[in-house]
C-alpha cells in the first residue's frame, strides 16, 4: 500500500501537481436497530477507497474512487489534475498552504472493550431490556433503540513527505419512546456517541435512562404548554451540547466565515473584521476551547485530514473572541496557525474545516445551586428542534421537556417549550456554568453534523455542563 500511494504521489507531481495528498480510508460500521422490542436489523457496512487532493497551476482539484487497482488509481490522479486545471483557468490567485510539520506516525483510539469482539445478541439484549422497561409505562406506544460501532483505518500521505496512519473507534447508543394519550403525542430520547470502546455504552446505564424517559414522556401528555414569557433559561447538558455546537461551533469555522459554504450552510456573524479585536462573544463566564486531544470526544483524533497534529485552541476567553478554526489554506491572515480541523467524512470527500471538540469550559456552579438560585425560569432538557439563520445570529430551539422553576424550586413540567435569542446577547446573559460536581461536565457527541456540498455528515464532540442564561424569550410561538 505504502509503495503504491507514494508512486501515485510521484505520478501527480509528474502531471504538474505543486502539492498533493492522498487519503485511503477503510471503515467498518455495525449499526443495530430496534423498534418496539424487535431488532429490525443488524448490519455491517464496509467502505473503503482513495481520495486525491491536488494543487495544479494554483487551482484545487479533487477526485476519489473506491477502486483499488493501480491503473484505476492513476486514473483518479489524472481526473484530479483535470479538475484542478479547470479550477485554475478562473483563479484569482494561486492557492497557498502554510507550512506544516512533516510527520511519520501511527496512532489508535484507546479502547478497553473492543465492540467488534462482542456478541451481537448480548448487545441486542440491552436494547430489548430498555424496551421492556419503557413499555411498563402504559402510555408508551412506540419504542426505539440503536447501537452504533465504527472503526476507521486512515492513511494520509502528502507530496511533502508526511505518512500518517490512524485507527479511530466510535461506539454509541440511543433509546427513545413515543407516548400517546390526552389527544397528544410526546417523545423522549437519549443518544450518545464517543471515541471509545463498548465501555462507553456500559457507562451510559441505558436501563435507568429508559425508565426515566418513559415516565417523562407520559408526564408530558398532561403537562401544561410552556407559557410565553421572558425569564431565565437553564440548559441541561444535552441541550447545552447542541447550543454550543450550533451557535459557538459553526460560527468559528473560518471557511464559513470567508463565504465558501454560503449557498448551503451560510456564513457567520463572526466576520473577519472582528478577528483580533477581543469581540465580546459572551459574558466573562463563557470560555470556549477547541480540543481534539480530549479523551472520548467524537472530535478527538491524532491528526486532521491535511496532516496537522490534533491540538487545543482557545476560542473564547472570558467572553472575548480569540480564534477561528483554521486550515492550511485559510490560516495565513488569521493567526498563521492551522489548528488541525480539516476533516472529511471519508475517502470520497474533500476535507473541510470541521468542529473538533468545541467545549464550554466548566464553571464553578453545580446544577442544584443554579436551580436554587433561579427565581423565575425553565430548565430545558434534550433538543427536539433547532433552527438558526444563515449567520448563526437569530436562533430558535425547542426542548423535548422543560420544567418551570419558581423561587429556586422545580414546580411543574412543561411541554412544547421553546426559546429564541440572538447569539452574542444570549451568551452575554450567561451568569452560571455548572461543572463543579462529578459528571456534570461531560464530552457529548452526535454523529450527524451536516456541512458542505456534497453534504458530508461528521461527528463533533462538545464538553459541556448545564448553563444558565437570563432574560430569554421562552414559549411556544416565539
Amino acid at each position: 500500500m505504502e509503495e503504491m500511494i507514494k508512486e501515485l504521489l510521484l505520478y501527480a507531481q509528474k502531471l504538474g501537481a505543486e502539492y498533493g495528498d492522498i487519503r485511503y480510508t477503510k471503515q467498518r460500521e455495525r449499526p443495530l436497530m430496534m423498534r418496539n422490542g424487535e431488532i429490525e436489523s443488524a448490519a455491517e457496512r464496509l467502505d473503503s477507497g482513495f481520495g486525491c487532493r491536488l494543487i495544479v497551476d494554483g487551482g484545487w482539484g479533487f477526485a476519489s474512487t473506491p477502486a483499488k487497482d493501480f491503473e484505476q488509481l492513476k486514473g483518479m490522479v489524472e481526473r484530479a489534475v483535470s479538475v484542478a486545471k479547470a479550477s485554475a483557468r478562473y483563479k484569482l490567485a494561486s492557492v497557498e498552504l502554510i507550512p506544516v510539520e512533516i510527520v511519520q506516525d501511527k496512532k489508535a483510539t484507546p479502547v478497553k472493550t473492543d465492540p467488534f469482539t462482542l456478541n451481537l445478541d448480548e448487545q441486542a439484549q440491552l436494547l430489548r431490556q430498555c424496551h421492556e422497561i419503557m413499555v411498563q409505562v402504559p402510555e408508551v406506544r412506540v419504542t426505539g433503540g440503536n447501537l452504533y460501532q465504527s472503526r476507521e483505518d486512515k492513511i494520509f500521505a502528502s507530496t511533502e513527505g508526511s505518512w500518517i496512519e490512524q485507527t479511530l473507534t466510535i461506539t454509541g447508543a440511543g433509546i427513545d419512546c413515543l407516548a400517546r394519550g390526552n389527544d397528544d403525542v410526546q417523545r423522549r430520547s437519549f443518544n450518545l456517541n464517543k471515541t471509545a470502546g463498548f465501555e462507553a455504552v456500559v457507562a451510559m446505564d441505558l436501563p435507568a435512562k429508559a425508565e426515566e424517559l418513559a415516565q417523562q414522556a407520559a408526564l408530558l401528555l398532561t403537562a401544561d404548554n410552556c407559557p410565553e414569557k421572558t425569564r431565565s433559561l437553564i440548559l441541561d447538558k444535552t441541550l447545552a451540547r447542541l447550543q454550543v455546537h450550533e451557535s459557538c461551533g459553526h460560527p468559528i469555522e473560518l471557511d464559513r466565515v470567508l463565504g465558501s459554504e454560503d449557498t448551503y450552510a451560510g456564513k457567520s456573524f463572526l466576520t473577519p473584521d472582528l478577528f483580533g479585536k477581543d469581540f465580546k462573544f459572551g459574558s466573562e463566564k463563557v470560555n470556549i476551547t477547541a480540543d481534539a486531544t480530549l479523551p472520548q470526544g467524537l472530535g478527538s483524533f491524532f491528526y486532521d485530514d491535511e496532516g496537522v497534529k490534533a491540538q487545543r485552541t482557545t476560542i473564547v476567553e472570558e467572553g472575548k473572541f480569540k480564534n477561528y478554526l483554521t486550515s492550511r489554506e485559510t490560516a495565513k491572515d488569521y493567526g498563521g496557525v492551522a489548528n488541525g480541523t480539516m476533516r472529511a467524512m471519508n475517502w470520497a470527500n474533500i476535507p473541510l474545516i470541521r468542529m473538533t471538540n468545541i467545549n464550554l469550559e466548566p464553571g464553578d456552579w453545580s446544577l442544584d445551586e443554579i436551580i436554587r438560585d433561579t427565581k423565575d425560569g425553565i430548565l430545558a432538557v434534550t433538543p427536539k428542534s433547532w433552527s438558526l439563520d444563515d449567520k448563526r445570529l437569530n436562533f430558535h430551539f425547542a426542548p423535548e421537556l422543560a420544567y418551570e422553576i419558581l423561587d429556586g424550586e422545580i414546580v411543574r413540567p412543561l411541554k412544547n417549550a421553546s426559546y429564541t435569542a440572538l447569539t452574542p446577547e444570549f451568551w452575554a446573559s450567561c451568569d452560571a456554568v455548572a461543572g463543579r460536581e462529578k459528571g456534570e461536565w461531560e464530552v457529548l457527541g452526535s454523529i450527524s453534523c451536516a456541512k458542505g456540498e456534497p453534504v458530508q455528515s461528521i461527528g463533533p464532540g462538545h464538553g459541556v455542563a448545564p448553563v444558565r442564561l437570563n432574560n430569554i424569550k421562552t414559549g411556544l410561538q416565539d
Partner: protein, 447 residues
Amino acid sequence: MIQREQAEKILKTVLAASTADETQVILRSEDLSQTRFNNNWIHQHLFRETYSVEIKVVDQNRVGMATVNDLDEAALKKGVADALHNASFVKANPNLVPMPEAKPVLEIDGINQNTLNLSDMDRADLVASMIDVAKENSVDASGSFANELSVLAVANSKGVMTYHAGNNLRIRSIMANGLQTGYSEAMSTDVEAIDFVAVAKDALWKSKLKAEESITLDLGSYDTIFEPQAVADLLRFPGYIAFNGQSLADGRSFMAKAMGQKIFDEKVTVIDDAYEPRHVPMPFDAEGMPKEKVVIIDQGVAKGVVYDHASAFRAGKETTGHATAGRRGGASPGHLIIAPGNSSIEEMIKQTKRGVYVTRFHYTHCPEPMQIIATGTTRDGTFLIEDGEIVARLKNLRFTDSMLRVFANVDSLSQEQFLVKDWWFTFTMLVPAMKIKDFTFTGNTTF
C-alpha cells in the same frame, strides 16, 4: 457508470451466494462532478465516484444486513456471509413482512447525452459565465454546480431484477452586493435546458433591488409570496412527517384523522409522480417495486399517502413503490408535485396590498410535528410589498407557523412550476410559486 450487464451480474452473484430464506440486494452508484465558487473564483472542485451494494437477508424470520463497496466476487460473497452472520444473532421476528414478488417495471431512458458529455472544463466555463455577470455588475458570485449520474439496481430472491440509470444537474447562485444578497437556482436533466446567465441575473436583481437600506418589519401576519424553493421548504415538513403509511400507522401524522376531509385550500393539489418528465424520472423504488402515481391532497382534501411494501402490507394495501434504501428504510415521497395555479409572481405582487416576498429559507425545523408547526429564517432577498410593488428590502425574518394553516390559507399559485430542492436536500419537487394569506413572522434578524 455501472452498465446494466455488470449490475445484473453483481446482483445475481449476491443472490446465488445467499442461503437465506429471502435475499434482497440494492446496487447504487454515483458519479458526481461538483464545482463550488465563492468571491468570483472556483474554490472547491471535485469528481467523486462511489458505489455500494446493500445486502439484506431474512433467514428464519431473522434480518441481517451488510453493505460493501467492493464489487469483486469475493467481497460480495463476504457481504452475504456478513449479512447471514448478523441475522443469526438477531431474535426471530414472527411479524416480519415477506419480501415482495416481482412486478412489471416501466423502462425509462434517464440518460441525457448533453449532460453526460459535460467536461470539467465545460463546467468551469459555465460557472465563469455566471461570474462574468457578477463582475460586470460589481457584485460577488458564489454558488454550486452539481452534475450527478446515478444508477440504482435492485433484485431479490422472489424474482425482482431492475436497473435504472439517470443524470441531472443543479446550479445554485448567490450574488452578494455588499451585505445584500440575492439567490436563484435551476435544475434539469438536460444542461441545454438551463440558462446559466439567466440564473445569475435572477440572483443579481434580488441583490441589487432596494439595496441601499434594509428595514426591520413589525412582527405579525402578512400576505406572503414564496419563490418555489421556499415553497419546497414548506412542503418538506408534511412530506417527511405525514405523507407516509408508517407515520399514519404510528399516529404521528395529521393525515391519520384527516383522510377524506378538506384540510388544505381547494387550490392545493399535491401528488407524487415519478414519471413526470420535468422531474428526475425514476421507474421503481429501493425494493424494485414500480412507482405508482399517488394523489396525496386533491383540491384540499386528504386522499392518500405513500407506502413501501411492509407498511402497505400491514395496512392491507399494495405498495405504491416508495421504499427507500438504508438501515431505517420506510417510505418517502421522492417526487412531490404541487399542481399549478393560474397566477404568476408578477401578478401576485400586483395583487398584494401589503405583504412580504420570500426568496428562500434557511435551516427550517419542526418543533411540533402533529400540527406541523415549523420555524426557519428567510435569506438572500426578503422584500416588503405595498400597493402592488416591492417598496423596501427587509432584514431577514423568522417564521413560526403551522403548515396545516399555511396550506389552508393559499391565495394563489403560479401557472409555471419549477424543479427545486428544499434547503435540506431532502426532496426534489416540482412546485409553483405560492402566495399565502396571513403568514406568521415571529422574529427579526439584524441583517
